[in-house]
Symmetry: C4
Subunit: 204 residues, 4 copies
């Protein structure tokens, strides 16, 4: 199988998971009563959660391409690893909604933050697993894959799992700090991309 | 990254956001009771709102391609700008539903129209930002990009932000006029395309 | 714009509209109470309606490709005509649900059948319009488009509008006959394709 | 029609059907009351069902590509067979939800397991039908299709229908055993792919 069809399927899941996030905001506004202006103000956490998860999915999508661009072939094991990664991506709208619904409720935020963090951590594990599987001993890499790009990808993906695991564990002490950390990671990436992302020009 | 995969992801979000709009009509008809014929008549604003937002997303999709067709490469900063644009596109079904539910209710229409207008205005800002970023100093343009096409795109996109901002601010005086203006912009574009769009023949 | 990106967007809308149909079945089973076996039997119209609309969307998708395969270029007017066609496609899950909910209720089935038929008729009008626009005077056809294929497409699409209009108008006399006719058209196409569709072999 | 556009449409349906599965989990958690931690624990069947159906769709998607990679052309009959297959794929979220809601309820699990099994069995029939249709007498195969690959595909797909039919019929004796068998088939495939899937390296 060429990487082309993996991209079509993966991009479909990324796009749908991101777009389904808005259904959470929709559902939230329906659960509040009163004037619509008040209800819109009451659901600000849903809007923040929508933005954070949308940007997070956008980042994973962008990184997923960086990986596939280095590959010259795929095999059935790699495809299944991708299915597992996409299963986490498609799951994300669910804990996003839990966090959005409970962000102003210190006690009940804890299980929501743990569910969100566990999803992100498993996703990071799936991510580094498929990259290490594909790149180990040049198993699936293109003939002309640049060694510096390859080791650069490894270096930049390795911290993902401990970072998300830490943010998740922080929820045991302070759920709100955990949630703020997830938002911060997404915000950091967007700002960092805006400042340094201009250097990574690639030919179309 | 080639522009190809950006198109797959973007087209996915455009297609899903447009198609999810029908869920609003679905939800509306469920909220009314009585004979189904009466309920269908009662939800005409949902049908109008569906058509306006669907056409609006179609226009943005068509313009998004016009931009990408001029590019020879993308970078990470540009990708993140696209994620932010798509975040607005995917958000659109939500304020569309608010407007549809409140279009016959003068007082509560105001926050709905403001939410719709704010979404459209932020989207227009994202749009012109990514175009100016890509075209400034030929940063991401194709080698053979036609200067007249490039400056033509700039000219036709620059009025978007003030136009949508004006339509939004009008909601403070008259929400219904604001909503009518958004519908009018979409209708104008469809009619204008039908009359003048035949000239812009491009090779496949 | 090449036809490639129009295909991506269109296929996205086709795929999503078809897949969203299952949400209707989901919603239906939730509205019935009692043992799940009884509820599954009670919602058979939803299952039939799901199948009919899914196959109908599949047929339109297949025909849409036949049209695009003849084109060498597109213009902005043609894109907008496609947006209008896709607007009808994405709308289809809504009247499908109305019909499914009311198929055993002679009186209330009439407005549901009329809504379904109106959607199909407008879709057929959009379809023949964009084809005649593209093929008239070879406006958007490929240089090497086969005249017999082109006139064959015109011949096979022209009856669509009167056929669906007739099925719609029959709903004024007998809603159930109208609905049966829509199901019959879809079933006929599938059977006819199975028997005669083997002849139309095309190179990949 | 080239196989390319069939892939776009099919991948769209696969991706959407897989991603819509999360709406079932969403709906489930809303139906329970109490602290969110308890509710999350109460819906573990939904999470298992989500994973099983997501992986199952991923397997079908991966197999679907293996088939298309052998084809050199398609015809209208083959397209309609694909529409019927995709109709089963898009239907899967519905019986998945039924099973998830009733997995701890021995009596009511039976109709749910039968609905799930019937969907899987019909899907397997559609699958082997379209493969035998395409490969019989090399009807749609590529000129250079490898005979060993072709007969290998036939050998590995033929057991699907009796396997799923058996798992379905077991639901008459023990619904829970039937459901466990469906989960086991998916798990087996993932594990088997991880161990043996590395051998099937294909050029991009």
């Amino acid at each position: 199988m060429s990487t082309a069809r993996l991209e079509t399927f993966a991009d479909g899941v990324f796009a749908i998971a991101a777009t389904l996030l808005i259904l959470n905001v929709d559902a939230q506004v329906g659960e509040h009563s009163g004037a619509i202006g008040d209800r819109l103000l009451a659901i600000w956490p849903s809007n923040i959660a929508y933005a954070v998860s949308f940007v997070t999915i956008g980042i994973i999508w962008s990184n997923h391409h960086t990986v596939l661009a280095q590959l010259g072939r795929v095999n059935r094991a790699f495809l299944m690893q991708n299915v597992l990664l996409l299963m986490c991506v498609a799951f994300l709208p669910f804990p996003t909604r839990l966090v959005a619904e409970h962000v102003r409720d210190r006690h009940d935020l804890q299980p929501a933050a743990l569910a969100y963090g566990a999803t992100m951590t498993v996703m990071a594990v799936c991510y580094i697993t498929l990259w290490l599987y594909a790149s180990h001993g040049h198993r699936l890499l293109r003939e002309d894959a640049d060694p510096r790009t390859v080791s650069g990808i490894t270096r930049s993906y390795l911290p993902g799992t401990p970072l998300y695991l830490t943010a998740t564990l922080i929820a045991f002490a302070s759920p709100i700090a955990s949630v703020a950390l997830f938002a911060g990671i997404a915000l950091f990436y967007v700002v960092e991309s805006s400042i340094f992302g201009g250097a990574s020009i690639e030919t179309a």
